[in-house]
Subunit: 489 residues, 2 copies
């Protein structure tokens, strides 16, 4: 294989994204419309994300469980808003048997094996879980119930893109039950903070925490909290949501508890999730025209050692020492002894895959007690004394993680514009893109009109922002605070 060619971002951003996904071996399309194959390297990054999120959920008192893949069709209609939002585009199981085709060619669906009630492949699990919780919750002593599930879900999307929007995707969905409204809201806010912390400290992806407008709320929620990130093309990516569900599902599935005063009350609920969509966010936040860039904390391989020009006894020995020292510090390292590929080819490969640090070990370097250290984020190459190289790498990984975050944050901040008129709104949206902070009169009508005119949507009402009186950019009506608009994925 020669060097893979990646379309430049400036030429065709969408082609660039697809090239990264393919050439960095993250995922590929499958023969099943809208379903992707997550390749080992891509799955390795997802596994690291999953492990970190899972430990954060457990530290905050949640346990994992597993609920059925299928949901009886009738369940979806039980929560009125939920069915409107979710029941439509989904995979429907109608039969449970195939039979040999009468014409002897392959198999056909056995018409006698029709299910009495069709089953839906879960698009999300609120309904089946709240049906189950009814039997798990009797008194206040059974609360809070703090459960998470790692699962695959299916939503029959018409236009799909790897990681960003696929018919089947992997995610976690938390479903909690509480005795009071306040406690449920607190849980949904705590998870929002947890998601933001994960996005910023692990993915090095800066996010805005905010509240969704009524129009953008999860179907069945009283309030939806969101983290919104900005991609390099100036479009926003909704990266995780946490919902305060009020008593909606408790009422739909009749889940009550006896409170401390022996009165029956409906339970308060939250649900929250992040998915393999985060992989799309990771790719689009950091990568460049040379390939993927992975923050060190999520990199399947943090350091690669390339012998120059070929492995030999002396180089092997020096490499082994470094490998041992790095592993002792919990740093993952690969030594590429492949003799059939030249160093330049290998350099390109590891750049393409976004390995944060590359060491070049050559005979001449070793003679000078030196090693060549290249960092993927800035592409800088530097000679480092062999004696201190392990400390150097340890610090460098921290520096790269931080640099990626700072760089992305600077980009995001530069691409965030405050405007006060609709003309400015349209012109900034066209020329610069990004987040636009503007006043809005608070009505769904105005929100939809702006979307119709500009394709921009309200990403969120930011939480960490001062209230400020103003007038709506479209209607001129009074507004109490600015909201964040953007074109979005």
């Amino acid at each position: 294989m020669a060097k893979e060619i990646i379309t430049e971002r400036s030429v065709d951003y969408s082609a660039w994204y697809n090239d990264i996904v393919r050439n960095a071996n993250l995922a590929e399309t499958s023969p099943v419309r809208g379903c992707m194959v997550i390749k080992p390297y891509g799955f390795g990054i997802w596994e690291k994300m999953k492990a970190q999120l899972d430990s954060m959920f457990k530290e905050t008192g949640h346990t994992n469980a597993y609920f059925p893949l299928f949901i009886p069709k009738s369940f979806l209609s039980k929560e009125a808003q939920h069915v409107e939002g979710f029941a439509k585009e989904c995979a429907v199981v109608t039969h449970h048997r195939l039979m040999n085709s009468p014409d002897g060619d392959g198999v056909v669906v056995d018409p006698d094996a029709r299910l009495e009630e069709e089953l839906i492949v879960r698009p999300t699990s609120e309904t089946i879980i709240w049906h189950t919780y009814k039997n798990w919750i009797n008194t206040y002593r059974d609360l809070p119930l703090l459960i998470n599930q790692w699962a695959n879900v299916v939503r029959w999307e018409m236009r799909t893109r790897p990681f960003l929007r696929t018919a089947e995707f992997l995610w976690q969905e938390g479903h909690t039950a509480h005795a009071t409204k306040e406690e449920a809201i607190e849980e949904s806010r705590m998870i929002l903070d947890l998601y933001a912390k994960f996005a910023e400290e692990w993915m090095a992806m800066p996010v805005i925490k905010g509240i969704k407008t009524a129009n953008e709320r999860f179907a069945g929620a009283d309030e939806t909290f969101t983290i919104e990130a900005l991609m390099q093309d100036g479009r926003a990516l909704q990266s995780g949501t946490s919902h305060f569900l009020g008593q909606n599902f408790a009422k739909a599935f009749d889940v009550t508890f006896q409170n401390q005063n022996n009165r029956e009350e409906h339970v308060w609920a939250t649900s929250w999730g992040v998915s393999t969509r985060l992989m799309g966010g990771l790719i689009m936040t950091h990568s460049d025209d040379d390939g993927l860039i992975v923050p060190p904390k999520l990199a399947p391989i943090q350091v690669v050692i390339v012998p120059i020009p070929k492995p030999n006894g002396e180089i092997d020995e020096a490499a082994e020492k470094i490998i041992k020292a790095l592993k002792d510090r919990g740093i993952s390292v690969k030594y590429d002894r492949d003799k059939k590929k030249r160093p330049g080819f290998k350099f390109n490969e590891y750049e393409m895959h976004g390995v944060p640090v590359r060491l070049g070990l050559g005979k001449r370097d070793l003679a000078n007690n030196q090693v060549e250290v290249a960092r993927r984020d800035t592409m800088e190459v530097k000679s480092v004394n062999l004696d201190g190289v392990v400390d150097y790498i340890d610090n460098l990984l921290v520096e790269i993680q931080d640099n990626l975050f700072q760089k992305a944050k600077l980009f995001r901040d530069e691409k965030t514009t405050s405007v006060d008129t609709f003309d400015d709104f349209k012109s900034v949206l066209e020329s610069k893109g990004g987040f636009i902070s503007a006043h809005w009169d608070g009505t769904t009508e105005t929100e939809l009109k702006i979307k119709e005119l500009t394709k921009a949507t309200i990403r969120c009402i930011p939480i960490d922002q001062e209230d400020e009186a103003g007038t709506c950019i479209l209607t001129g009506k009074p507004s109490e605070r600015r909201v964040l608009f953007a074109k979005a994925y």
Copy 2:
């Protein structure tokens, strides 16, 4: 809750099993026929199994990936034997949309949203994976390809039992591709050994490694290797299988590679899997009439501390010291400060859940610098000096793990009988059950006849056993070795 009552094994083994599953909070049935809900405590055990297996797969060079949930119907017919074995009882997706019911009551399947080709919810993934491998494999340098997937699969079983046989279950499926027949066979044997090691050293469940007869082989395999365990009712449980697939799937999906001599050859394959069925094996190998017994290495909680009769400052202080010391050694520990439950109630609860070690911390014990240590496997209770209690527990956990294995092995060995006549075969099967080692003439006809007459099947041709000439118990024809019969789950 009063003490949960468990049906005694001797009264009704099957009811006993269901009682354990329910009362130890492992799983419960769901409104979807044959699908179970795995509850947090049960899932905690499965997570420990999964983590250990995953690390063993990775140590042996495998990586994880993810393939689509759905398989196009036509894929199933591509491997002739595979379709016979798998295509029949499965969940078939025929539509991709619901719509509001014309009568205003709920939702119905939208007849306009019929899929061109039906999709099957994967019963196993050989077909979709080998379709994918075609693009991943070009030359011998792409081999071996060593991939595993953790996934849910669906087989529409008529009679289901929690963990042992469910329509949806969780599993791992390894799918590897090799340049030579020898290497593929070696891989399938290596995985068999890995499974046996996991079963014996982690689950404390002794297993017999063997080869399946042609009749019991996986649909599409040239050879199926199996680990077979014996449950307390004398029935066998097939606990994991590893298949040498020959070139069957490579031929069906046209997967070839260029060998070192530049010739095109079909790839050699293996597949292998263990599932949540192992949970059933774990339960039935160790548990007793007081509840679940979990080997320490897989216990979500290894040690529980119960204050007697209630927590107070002095007891809390002593408990915290022990907790810290245990955690420093990587031992998981729970301190049950619940003031509303009496110690006796708690004892029953933790016995029911199979927590390996229970500490009772009372005022009088503390005054004597002692703590009461109870082990779940033997129910022994002993006073131990507080100063040495952490060392004591550390050793005790190892001892319990070993004792559970030895006890299960002794049971298995006692329940394994060699017979030389069909009369003895039938009488042992009726009176004693268990594994029966007997001569068989090697034909499927005889195998099926014995099954028809006795309901016993050939579990495997054991690998670790000397060849021995003899005559078939049914036909009197010559036999080269004994095989292992049993009634099975």
